[in-house]
Structure formats: structure tokens, C-alpha cells
Amino acid sequence: MSSSPLAKQVTGSKAIPTRKVVINDACELPNYYSATPGGTLYSTTPGGTRIVYEPSFIMNLRNSPLSKTPPTYEIPSSLLRGSTPEKKTKSPSKRHYNKNHIDSTKRDTKQIEDEDQFSLDL
């Protein structure tokens, strides 16, 4: 009857992790019998499985080092987070810079266009 604390620790039961999806209406059920509510397909037929991620799962990856690395392509400076209109005109990308040297009149019109297109309310 009375087991030692150690035995209890070893044999103690743990709940199987489950997730409850509340269905309020029949239309929230998946289209396919092979899918569980919430969207995951159990079938593994080629082309039959969707890559499904819960929003909370995606959220958890937000702070991974890869997620913090800037993309390999160039984001227009006017759309970079934390950029201000002043910064934008002062520090264009290198390529931008070279082009500006080739034709300064073009640069002026270009910058005006840029600001007009995506000016920020900061």
C-alpha cells in the first residue's frame, strides 16, 4: 500500500500531453476524415500532408538566432524598421551611392519619389 517516496517518483504517472480543440459548430470540423480539428492531417500519402503550424509554435520561433538574422536580400531603406526619413537620405546602400555619383540630378528626383512613395509618420 505505502510505497517509498522514491518508488512513487519512479512510477508516478504523468498525463499524456493533449490539446483540446473546442468545436462550436459543425462547420469548424475539417473537410477530410483524415484531418483532426485544428488542421493536422494524419495521412502521409504523397502530397496529402500539409505543413501545419499553430500560431503559438510560430511565435516560439520568433527569437531564434536565425529569425533575428536580416534577410539576404536588400529591404528598401524606407521600409526598414527603425529607419527615419533623415537616416534614409543619408545612408543609402552602396549601389545606390554609386549610382548617385553617376547622375546627381537623377538622385534628387529619385529621393523625392522615394519619400513620396513611402514616407513614414514618425
Binding site: 462547420c27 469548424e28 536580400y73 526598414l80 512613395q117
Partner: protein, 224 residues
């Protein structure tokens, strides 16, 4: 992996340098950033997506041509990590000026009515107070990226349009006439964005949008 990244960067630049006019190297001419990268160890998405920005054209050049001209491809994502890398480096929604559109669309579908995938499509429209917008927009994007709508291949993309005090969230699907699917998308939207069940959302058929005036049922009670 580094080498691959470098190659992709080069591809992007090569494409840019085709634009000899020097008009705008990141302008509307670019509609493809090259093949999507799937580095091992990253969480691949069901579909790759492209992020676009656009400024609403003035009334003087209304018409789809003016709209297409203002579209700007900003980035593309094939994995969850790439999504965050892009999302956390672009300007926040609350810092975007009014009358701008941000589109997150499946790669290969232009965020325009004229695209073959959108021609017969439509969209659900939600109007939100600006302070609720960022959160709702993020939730909407995550839901689409994670395939939470259970609508097969019907989803084309999502859009947020900024206004002065509010913003409009849209989700576009392929077949406006498929009532069962559009209803499914609507119900998923309500669930995923925590909307009260009794809220009314408006569905707009793209082909009607060209002619119809815009009347949207206000929806300001999103729980944050």
C-alpha cells in the same frame, strides 16, 4: 549554406542591374526574388510567400494600371525563420503612413485582381481600430503561414490597408462563388482573431469591386 546565400544575393542584384534606366532599383519592376531558399534546420512552410508594399494611387490615376505601378516586392519567405527575419526587420504597422497596403501573398500570385488566381476570387474585409491592427495583422499572417484556415488551396493572400484612425484587414481567396469555402474562411477568421461570434464581416467579390462603391460594416470590437 553561406555560399548558397551569396548566390541568391547575386541573383537578386543581377536582376536589379537589368534595370539600366537607374530609375528605381527596388521599384515595381522586380516581381521575383529568385528561388526560395530552404536551409536545413529551418521550419519549412507549406507555401512560399512574398511580401509587397503599395501606396494607394491618387484619384487622378485610379485604375489598375496605377495600382500595379505602385506595387513593390519587398521580400519572400519559405520558412518560419525567414518570416521572422523579414517581419522583424521591416517597419511596424503603426509606423506606416495612411493609405498604404502591405500584402503577404503566395509566391506566384500577384496581389492584384487581374492575376489568374484572383480573377474569380474575393475577399473578407475587416475594419479595425489602428491600435488593434498590428496584433490582428500579425495573427492573420501567422494563421495563413501555418495553414490554419483549412481551406485547401483557396487562400491567395492577406492584405492590410492603413488609414488615419483604422486599418483594413483582407483575406483573399480564389473562388468567390464557393460559398462553403468562403464561409469556412470567415469562421476560421473569427476563431483565429478572437472575434465575437455575432460579428458581421463583409465579403467582396473582386470583379464587383471595380464598379461598386465601398461600404464596409464597421467592426471595432476586436478583443486584443
Amino acid at each position: 549554406m553561406i555560399e548558397r546565400k551569396h548566390k541568391r544575393l547575386k541573383y537578386h542584384h543581377d536582376e536589379n542591374s537589368d534595370n539600366e534606366s537607374g530609375d528605381d532599383e527596388l521599384g515595381p519592376n522586380i516581381t521575383d526574388l529568385g528561388p526560395v531558399d530552404y536551409p536545413s534546420g529551418e521550419h519549412r512552410l507549406q507555401h512560399p510567400y512574398c511580401l509587397w508594399f503599395a501606396k494607394r494611387p491618387n484619384r487622378s490615376h485610379v485604375g489598375t494600371e496605377g495600382y500595379g505601378q505602385s506595387l513593390r516586392l519587398v521580400g519572400q519567405v519559405g520558412t518560419v525563420e525567414q518570416w521572422w527575419a523579414l517581419y522583424s526587420h521591416i517597419v511596424r504597422l503603426q509606423d506606416i503612413a495612411p493609405h498604404r497596403d502591405v500584402h503577404l501573398f503566395k509566391k506566384g500570385i500577384m496581389p492584384m485582381w487581374e492575376d489568374p488566381a484572383n480573377k474569380k476570387g474575393g475577399k473578407w474585409v475587416m475594419r479595425l481600430r489602428k491600435d488593434h491592427g498590428s496584433r490582428a495583422w500579425e495573427n492573420l499572417c501567422l494563421a495563413m503561414l501555418g495553414e490554419q484556415f483549412m481551406a485547401g488551396n483557396e487562400i491567395c493572400g492577406v492584405v492590410v490597408s492603413t488609414r488615419y484612425q483604422e486599418c483594413l484587414l483582407n483575406i483573399w481567396n480564389r473562388t468567390a462563388s464557393d460559398i462553403a469555402t468562403t464561409a469556412r474562411i470567415r469562421d476560421a477568421l473569427k476563431r483565429l482573431l478572437n472575434m465575437p461570434a455575432n460579428v458581421t464581416l463583409e465579403y467582396k467579390v473582386h470583379s464587383d469591386c471595380l464598379k461598386a462603391s465601398k461600404t464596409v460594416i464597421p467592426y471595432n470590437t476586436l478583443k486584443s
